[in-house]
Symmetry: D2
């Protein structure tokens, strides 16, 4: 047995869900057909550490179709969809992922995937690449390069690169415009609200939703919260982002002030300790608190626990903490990514583009093998245009093209008035 | 045994969910405290036929607290939450409801609840009251009155009244402004979209959402669909509603035209055959079709079935129909109410007002016992103002009050220019 | 001379503007063609008192085309468009209206229009009809009926009717659904914001807009303010309206609290003294204050003046008041209707429906001559449906029609489950 | 005489408007106070070519306060506000600008401003700098550098730089995030719609608004058009921007298709011939066409004229063209910038940041005198953060700051899971 999953019996159910996802991921399916012919990953061994969802499975199948051997672990203790994990295992993928794994199991799973001696790594949050660089340094020289899916992971890798600690090149998939300006905004926005609804079923209309962070993910959450009728308050540390939130019609204030006003809180910052003890102490009875950032440290859960006289799970993923004095705070999915642990993560349509970028980034690393320095690279702009064009075509949308005369005008700087 | 539920073992889980719901229904809880003292339903026997959800349980408990004996059945084959049903049974309520009951069982359940010989009836869609009027006419003379929760049911009852067929008075709870202008708009809007997300997890952004009907429910769906980034097309039969949809920024056209454009269809009309064979024939591959109206006849499912070469359930509540030629249409929850059968129904906060209206309507019927003709009655405007005021207070909101001078101005018609 | 206007030389400019308006009022033009043939107002004399705008002129022309003699005055000292007034005078209409008339001139103008001994009156705010009932009682017996355009006027007339003071029947044109649910919402919403922009050119994005009143007009203003990026706070006296504002995502509070938070204030209440001295005292430096309700008493301007150490007009319609301590408050168009005095009033497209209703209401009064009691009447629902249908057709929009089978279903109350 | 304006008698009116603008531009006022002390432009001669509006005057005053001599011309034949021009002339600024200047006068005005032998140039559209490079090459060696305000101008200058034709360094003020992500989006969005309303007064609700281009300006127009109730169709040439428009809920198609659907068209592309003869031929009777891009070639007006049997100005800035067959197309402000020629241009609040950037860019050029190559430079990121911080403070908004512990976390790449 070369896998560890919750229940292999869930494989059939998982396969149907993957089929559903694939029917919504036409760009990735298009690349798969191409890769079947061109085999751009022939001979490569890809170790991946990324949320095991119905969208990830089509990515893995695409890498396999491109000629790669693939091993996989989940990148978050609570985000694995057990039926998908089973389906992948049943198809012969060495996968080590189940919902609810503990931290020790989490790193064990990564280590298992590295036994294949990868030539390429794929990360979501940089835990795999950091494991290679710390516990498995000997692998670095064998690895052509890696990719990274998230803002948080890219931030971590840039810090490593600045320190001279990065040992092989990494493609910042997150920074592709067809990734961050879509997945992070529209994907996170919808799926985070979805996670809140599934774990609480509360009415958004008329609620005060406090969104910490007005980066792409936070902007998505604020936009969708408003779209469902909530009044949104934004907290920020950057004046530039704060000003954008203002002009987008949101109220901006410090968390110290917002804490007493919010009905629902969602953190999307990439920073720890965004909501801490003094904030819980100020909250209204019944406040709901969750996180959609990569790690579970944005909300200081140990402080919440130590302030509480009791706690119990009222609904799946919805834990009630009773504070001294009787007020209740509800923490969703242990402060883990509410969109993945509370719902199903980003919709297939938006992962279609993110994972098309992943596929192309890996083939790019294979193609440029040995020519790149150990730095963080961006994907070429042309790839964005090509993927966006593909996506539009699959949506049945045609757009204008410049005439020759117009192209000439574009390059002519003499016309004025 | 005085109940029939799916699994009584789910009672504890159900009780926790009810607790969660009650924490979000402060107006109903306020009335319950009052009723405990005043016992306005002492001696009454209430037979109810309404969706068995975590919000209905607090209503039932409130009626019991007010002194009533209560028996209950679900008003839709797919809307019962089995853990709530179990919790109510465990508390001694004669309840006959489980998810997935067939039509025969549906009417059997209603008949069971009538064995208590009710003095009051409570309906959602008028199936209970119609059963009394058709199969249990002997009960009519014993019944003081009934209440009705939905637009569809009130429409049905008004037709009965016009025909002279109505045998006892009915309060049109649906027509209370604190009901239809809240529950039907904000409740149905959010919960229907929620049902679509839970059964499909598709990205709303960039999709064409076709909403059939621009009544309160349809308007809610259109508003929330747009709020999640969909482009909304509305179909209507009333020029007045169509014009409102236009001025609200939506595109309006015939279903015959919209059928080929939609990615997602939702019916909210109260009318049968809104989507029929020629519409399915025109749809894009992958179209998702669902209903949020009371009955499952808005989408002509027999026609869809007869046009299909195969079908299978890809995800819970999401059935794929493959048409001749290969195109696929996805029908959600068998065309039943997508918000109740695909998600959890309206959020507690909005049912708080609807069920406060229900409670007050029943106490009103009890109080006016014998003085009302067999007609459809509206609730008094004052009740709306009182409930809205209560709700605001529980939300911590204070509003302006007129000064004496202003009140005088309001009644003075001589001031001009 | 049978008119009094500012400058008859503006007639040609006015005629072009009327042509522009008529090109946007297809429903009224449709009725005019019909009336030319049927002459439903033959022999009638209509005295009107309503804002003299480029949309009113097409109404007057339509009444003339229907066979009526017409005399006219403006219903607000600051709302007359002088070029339109001139164009009407040049066409032979006895019109008495210019921008900036004082209160004495205002009533003089009404009195002039009554010299024709009208058989029908048309009001916007009820000043004409009140003049008839107070200063020209002898005319009452000659008058078949009147119409009223506004919420405020209908409110005044209902108070008169309740008091037994109303001497002839009045059609509440305002209460036609094709009027209040369009003109009052979409018309007032856009035109009030337009008035603010023309008099201030301030950026709405990021501003706090306080809207007093969440009736149809206030809802329109709140919706459009948000649409331009403002954060909207609503004040209300009705808990029901306050709750709707909350669920629409607006913040609700008392004016005493909002006064210190607003950048822009707009009153839309129909009530006097909505913004008074203690509110001015609390405002931020630079606050902009305006009114879109019918009368100029919603903002207490005498109090503002007595609190100010100086004032000056910085831009047309934008007067700066400097308070003790140096803070500045900007009052727009003397607290008169900001949409009419600061911009051009409601767009033609929406007045198309309002004035089609006016035309039909007058023909209805003529037709029912002598059969109606002196009460306030509503227009028939069928008229709404007909006008909405006409409007849709002129917009090129087709909608669904029920099949016979569906009509049968609609009336059948036996189908259930 | 060292100026040429329409009417110097308008100076007092202009000064009041400038005062109004300055009261809304706190960041620029803050810099002015600082510059008064530090005199960063002492000895510099600044020739500017930029729309003469009530916001530009505060910029000019700030440059003067910083020690510079300033000469000025308008950068568009129709955008000059004649009262502002007069006020500046009265204050001794050599200004050559009036509304309605022809092309010959336009370049004459630029030439006049160059007689001062500038050391710095300031452009909006690059007409001044191009004049220097073509007709006044001898000045290049005396000029330390220039600034450019617009996307179009920066595009032109980059083309010049690529060609090796640029003779002195230029700061791309447009590319500062506090400029393009505010002015271009929120400024252009509101002011373009404002220009349409002032020249037409049409109802936006229910209209089909076609926006050509989904760059920052186009996005602003689309957002605000929707905000007023229009249904928006976007045309694009970039698949990436097209896809963003789709996911923002707009419909995307080719202009050839949109031409027949639009009620209102607005071009925001920077490209010529976006709307041409075949589009006019397809338009609905009554279509309104305007441009908010820098030049008046986006709409092909010569073609429109040659297709028309007659034309006339119905309202100021609103010209009716009657095509063969009777259909009418309305062209606003001769296809010039509708926000500047039809309304007053961007609101003061947003120009506050753009012109603060301009001021700092000029002082930067003065400070770095002689050290820069003839290239297009971006402004430093820190300037954005500082200006945004200043702006927030003037709005009374405080935001969060990172603790030391959080700063440490931000730089630590070892934390995971």
């Amino acid at each position: 047995m070369t896998y560890k999953v919750r229940d292999i019996g869930l494989a059939d159910q998982g396969k149907l869900k993957i089929e559903w996802a694939e029917s919504r991921m036409p760009v990735l399916m298009h690349l798969r057909e191409e890769f079947k012919k061109t085999q751009p990953l022939a001979g490569q061994r890809v170790a991946g550490c990324l949320h095991v969802t119905k969208e990830t499975a089509p990515l893995i199948r695409t890498l396999v179709a491109a000629g790669a051997q693939v091993s996989w672990s989940g990148c978050n203790p609570l985000s694995t969809q057990d039926d998908i994990s089973a389906a992948l295992a049943a198809d012969g993928i060495p996968i080590y992922a189940w919902k609810g794994m503990n931290v020790e199991e989490f790193y064990w799973a990564i280590d298992e995937t590295l036994k294949m001696v990868p030539t390429l790594t794929l990360d979501d949050g940089a835990d795999l690449i950091f494991s290679v660089h710390s516990r498995h340094k000997e692998l670095c020289s064998r690895i052509l390069g890696g990719t990274e899916e998230t803002t948080t992971g890219v931030h971590r890798l840039r810090a490593m690169a600045r320190d001279g600690a990065l040992r092989y090149p990494v493609m910042a998939v997150n920074d592709a415009e067809t990734k961050w300006d879509f997945d992070n905004v529209y994907g996170t926005g919808q799926s985070s609200i979805d996670g809140i609804l599934r774990t609480t079923n509360i009415l958004m209309a008329g609620k005060v939703l406090v969104v910490a962070g007005y980066g792409h993910c936070g902007r998505g959450c604020a936009m969708r919260g408003r779209g469902l009728g909530a009044r949104v308050i934004v907290t920020e540390i950057s004046p530039l982002q704060a000003l954008k939130a203002m002009l987008d019609g949101f109220q901006v204030m410090k968390m110290d002030e917002a804490a007493a006003l919010g009905d629902i809180f969602i953190t999307a910052t990439g920073m720890k300790d965004v909501i801490v003890d003094r904030h819980f102490a100020a909250m209204k009875d019944g406040a709901v608190v969750c996180n959609t950032g990569h790690y579970d440290c944005e909300i200081n859960i140990p402080q919440l626990k130590s302030m509480s006289v009791s706690s119990r799970e009222l609904r799946p993923g919805n834990e009630e903490f009773r504070l001294e004095g009787g007020r209740r705070v509800y923490l969703l999915v242990n402060g883990r990514l509410v969109n993945l642990a509370g719902a199903e993560g980003h919709p297939s349509e938006v992962m279609d583009m993110s994972f098309a970028n992943q596929s192309l980034a890996l083939t790019r690393l294979a193609r440029l093998a040995g020519t790149l320095e150990p730095k963080v690279y961006e994907l070429p702009k042309e790839q964005d245009l090509e993927l966006a064009g593909l996506k539009l075509r699959t949506m049945g949308v045609a757009i204008d093209e410049l005439t020759e005369d117009q192209i000439k005008y574009m390059d002519d700087y003499s016309a004025g008035t």
